[in-house]
């Protein structure tokens, strides 16, 4: 029963994390939009303000996510930003997305997963210890 509850909680954090990452991807959208205007004009400030707002909100939300999910899961999922970038580029800025780019993005994602799923020896020990504690 407790195990079921824990899995449910993890799933909740996982979904929340992807909402946060979607929100973070809007920071790049606002940067790109700000880039369309002359610097220090009203619209430039508006979109740059949104960039800072997105980053600030993300920083706070990410701390909450890290409490509920292992760092390796959080970091490897962060790579989804590449796909959001392609999606928003295609939908909002009429950018061409080719099959070659999608294949390259999958390769980058694979590399990121390899890097971020590595368990450091000390960390592995700590994780095991906390798991024992939780089981108790």
């Amino acid at each position: 029963m407790i195990e079921e509850e824990r899995q449910k909680n993890k799933a909740k954090y996982f979904i929340l994390m992807h909402f946060v990452l979607l929100f973070l991807s809007l920071n790049a959208v606002c940067s790109k939009q700000a880039a369309q205007y002359d610097w220090f004009t009203f619209k430039w400030f508006l979109f740059y303000g949104l960039v800072i707002f997105c980053l600030g909100t993300y920083a706070i939300a990410w701390q909450i996510i890290l409490k509920g999910l292992p760092l390796t899961v959080a970091f490897s999922n962060k790579a989804v930003a590449i796909f959001w970038g392609m999606f928003w580029g295609y939908v909002l800025f009429d950018e061409q997305i080719t099959l070659k780019q999608i294949i390259s993005a999958v390769i980058i994602l694979t590399g990121i997963i390899i890097i971020s799923t590595e368990k450091e020896p000390e960390k592995a020990k700590i994780n095991d210890a906390s798991e024992v504690e939780q089981n108790e």
Binding site: S25, A28, V29, S31, K32, A34, A35, Q36, Y48, V51, I52, L55, A79, A81, I82, W84, G85, M86, W88, G89, Y90, L92, F93, E95, I97, K100, Q101, I103, S104, A105, V106, I107, I108, L109, T110, G111, I112, I113, I114, I115, E118
Partner: protein, 115 residues
């Protein structure tokens, strides 16, 4: 094409300076501080956040030319920069697995850019 390379360079410069800032944050986080406030209000932390702020301006400058879809791809180079800088300044060990992963990321970025 040349313009694209130049503006990609500007974007990458933002990634590099942010990576330096990350290392500075890590270095101060490891040091003991007199108080909670001191932990945040000290030179390396303020400098790091100023650098993050500058990096956002560099990315806006770069997005004038580079497509939105390219931004997060170029940002993936931070895995390389952070690993290198951690090795140099924090004396962190880079495992074979990490080198392999970084190699794949760089290969993917080059494919994305030039294929």
């Amino acid at each position: 094409m040349n313009e694209m390379v130049l503006y990609s360079g500007i974007f990458l410069m933002g990634v590099v300076i942010s990576s330096f800032a990350q290392i500075a944050l890590k270095k101060t986080a490891d040091k003991p501080h007199d108080s909670f406030i001191r932990q945040y209000m000290n030179f390396p932390v303020i400098a790091a956040y100023t650098v993050f702020f500058l990096a956002t301006l560099l990315s806006i400058l770069a997005y004038k030319v580079i497509p939105l879809s390219m931004g997060p791809v170029l940002e993936s180079t931070q895995y390389l920069f952070i690993a290198l800088l951690s090795w140099i300044f924090l004396k962190e060990h880079i495992s074979k697995r990490k080198i392999f992963g970084i190699g794949i990321v760089i290969f993917g970025i080059l494919l994305y850019s030039f294929w």
